[in-house]
């Protein structure tokens, strides 16, 4: 080996000296494999750009996203001062898109944190305890899975009232069952392993075993699934916004923006087209990353 010492050797060592180094080596090797696929890199780039845009929105936006200007209604893209044109109330579409990035990111982040956490808890409980707990929880999972997701989310929003918080809640309520199934399957293979018996003999209680020793091992497959689902979450949230059940006007949510531009579609195409392009690019980013991650962890599996 030419390179001796230095960060590269430390990161590829076959005999890590500490737990930190072992983790760093594993992460670095995964990154090296991930990096080989240009499409995955494109996905990562799109998502990084999304996060940057969301963070820098106040500085990137050229106008106040809510400021109306009825003299400058429905200006086409490329108009002076309005890069992507204006909507029916004369609001700058570029500024609204930039501010919408944060909203999309918030929705995805909240759903991606709550639904898998609930699914992980239910799945590991069912798998580890077995017996009637397993039967009851899996029955519940099957029932929610048997529902058409969008319709169930619609019914929940109808009951709770339209709004972005309720849209997030409705999506999370319909999104947890696949994670529960996944976590249960993983737990079943772990449940009888020697290291679990060893911890139990040392006197660890069920909560400690589940949280400290079962859940971390279920995490990687759940994370891949979450990444693949994120595009779906974005599309569902946009769909609820489009139906007028998600974020309420004048919030610059992309789905709601398409809905507003729909009325002028044939004459002023840009009002509905541009927010849709934004949704498409972001969803594509998540799909590309998810696809790459799945190949990395399991080249044979396919999306159900």
């Amino acid at each position: 080996m030419a390179a001796r010492g230095g960060p590269s050797a430390w990161l590829t060592s076959e005999t890590p000296a500490s737990r930190l180094q072992a983790r760093a080596v594993r992460g670095y090797l995964a990154w090296r494999r991930l990096r080989r696929n240009p499409l995955t890199l494109l996905g990562i780039a799109i998502l990084l750009a999304l996060v940057l845009v969301a963070l820098a929105a106040p500085w990137l936006a050229t106008h106040d996203p809510l400021a109306q200007n009825l003299d400058g209604r429905l200006l086409p893209p490329g108009s002076p001062g309005h890069l992507l044109g204006t909507d029916d109330l004369g609001r700058d579409i570029f500024s609204r898109l930039v501010h919408g990035a944060g909203i999309t990111l918030t929705i995805v982040a909240l759903v991606a944190l709550t639904a898998p956490a609930a699914g992980l808890l239910i799945g590991t409980l069912a798998g580890y305890l077995g017996g009637w707990v397993d039967g009851l929880l899996m029955r519940l999972t099957d029932i929610v899975l048997a529902f058409p997701r969008l319709i169930l989310a619609l019914a929940f929003v109808a009951a709770l009232g339209p709004g972005i918080e309720n849209a997030i809640l409705a999506i999370a309520i319909t999104a947890w069952p696949p994670y529960a199934r996944l976590a249960r399957a993983e737990t079943l293979t772990l449940r009888n392993s020697d290291y679990i018996s060893a911890i139990r003999l040392q006197g660890a209680g069920t909560p400690r075993i589940l949280v400290g020793h079962v859940m971390p091992l279920c995490l990687s497959s759940v994370i891949v699934r979450v990444t693949l689902d994120m595009a779906g979450i974005i599309l569902t949230a946009a769909g609820l916004g489009f139906l007028g059940l998600g974020a309420q006007p004048p919030t610059p949510e992309w789905g709601a923006m398409i809905s507003a531009g729909r009325r002028f579609l044939l004459d002023q195409w840009w009002v509905a087209t541009l927010p849709g392009l934004a949704i498409f690019v972001v969803a594509l980013g998540f799909n590309l990353l998810g696809d790459g991650l799945r190949d990395l962890l399991d080249p044979r599996s396919d999306r159900p």
Partner: protein, 343 residues
């Protein structure tokens, strides 16, 4: 001895399926009932109005059964739904079940044509991707699938309208028929294509088809992506088996190996995939129907939702859920029927 054991197993299996079906349907009804309970709309005020006297309100509470314990209310609700009584729609002032029977054929027409197109194009694409695994056709098809999964269905619908109806004028616009053609053929099945064909009126048929092709095409794009992807992975599994090597060694043509031997075996699990995609299209049509002003179940549920017509929303949810459960069960049964190993 053996046949009796087989019959016993079949009965046990049927019983298990029935119990799980009943439990799932019970859950569906319980959830819809609970959703109706947490709605912020007060059902009493909705019936008697805001200025009713306390006596009227009390009478309405009794009449609606709201003074009974929750489990009793649920039992009453269960009994009604099982008799097909979903209550009356506030919006149309007709029984919800009647409304649903009127709008459902439109959704069925859309989802069926979309599934047909999806299989017709998606299946060969999936086979092609599997045969050319790792080469450019495979990558191209995979990329197209990813593109499809990333597009909001309502946006794709709007873009299709903009291009094919607005710019090129190749197809008809939103709706099921031009106003001029409405009510020209008697409604027998509710599916306009069938009705027009039955009446022998090909002009109406053509107009209906030119209205149908865009929404069905948009939905088909999603079915196609899913079917192609699953076909690819199922075909790859088959092509790696030893019987394929044997067939090659015997000198059977590659086309025959791919289309007869491998696809023949991959078709069994593909039935489930196609059934699932059909079920998803029935629900996924909600947004598409809104974009294309298609008077189907999705439009019905959404419009009911926006005007807080809870009976209609819950009735529609139950029907879609029941169809969903039914298709799942049917594909399960079909799978066991076709695959001798699953019997």
């Amino acid at each position: 001895m053996a046949p009796r054991a087989g019959a016993g197993r079949a009965i046990a299996l049927a019983a298990r399926l029935l119990i799980s079906l009943a439990a799932t349907f019970f859950g569906l009804l319980l959830v819809t009932f609970l959703i109706a309970r947490v709605v912020p709309i007060d059902p009493v005020i909705a019936v008697v109005g805001e200025q009713a006297s306390p006596e009227t309100v009390a009478a309405a509470v009794r009449e609606l059964g709201l003074d009974k314990p929750l489990w009793q209310q649920f039992a009453i609700y269960l009994g009604k739904v099982l008799q097909g009584d979903f209550g009356t729609s506030v919006l149309t002032a007709r029984p919800v079940l009647e409304d649903i029977a009127r709008v459902f054929p439109a959704t069925l027409e859309l989802a069926t044509l979309a599934t047909f197109l999806g299989v017709l194009i998606g299946l060969p694409l999936g086979v092609l991707a599997a045969v050319k695994q790792g080469r450019w056709p495979d990558h191209l098809i995979r990329l197209l699938g990813l593109f499809g999964y990333s597009m909001p269905v309502f946006w794709l619908g709007l873009m299709a309208l903009l291009v094919f109806y607005g710019q090129l004028g190749w197809t008809a616009g939103p709706g099921r028929l031009d106003v001029f053609y409405e009510d020209l053929v008697p409604s027998v099945t509710g599916v306009i294509l069938l009705d027009a064909a039955l009446a022998g009126d090909w002009e109406v048929f053509g107009n209906a088809l030119s209205h149908l092709i865009l929404p069905a095409g948009v939905l088909a794009a999603y079915a196609l992506a899913y079917i192609a992807r699953m076909t690819r992975s199922l075909m790859l599994e088959q092509l790696g088996q030893e019987y394929i090597t044997t067939a090659r060694a015997k000198g059977i043509s590659e086309a025959r190996i791919v289309w007869r031997h491998a696809l023949g075996n991959a078709l069994v699990p593909l039935i489930t995939v196609i059934a699932l995609s059909y079920a998803f299209l029935l629900e996924g049509s909600v947004l598409t129907e809104i974009v294309f002003a298609w008077p189907g179940l999705g439009s019905y549920i959404t419009n009911a939702l926006l005007s807080a017509d809870m009976n209609a929303v819950l009735g529609g949810t139950i029907v879609v859920g029941a169809v969903f459960i039914g298709i799942n069960l049917l594909s399960d049964l079909l799978y066991r029927l076709v695959d001798p190993r699953a019997r």
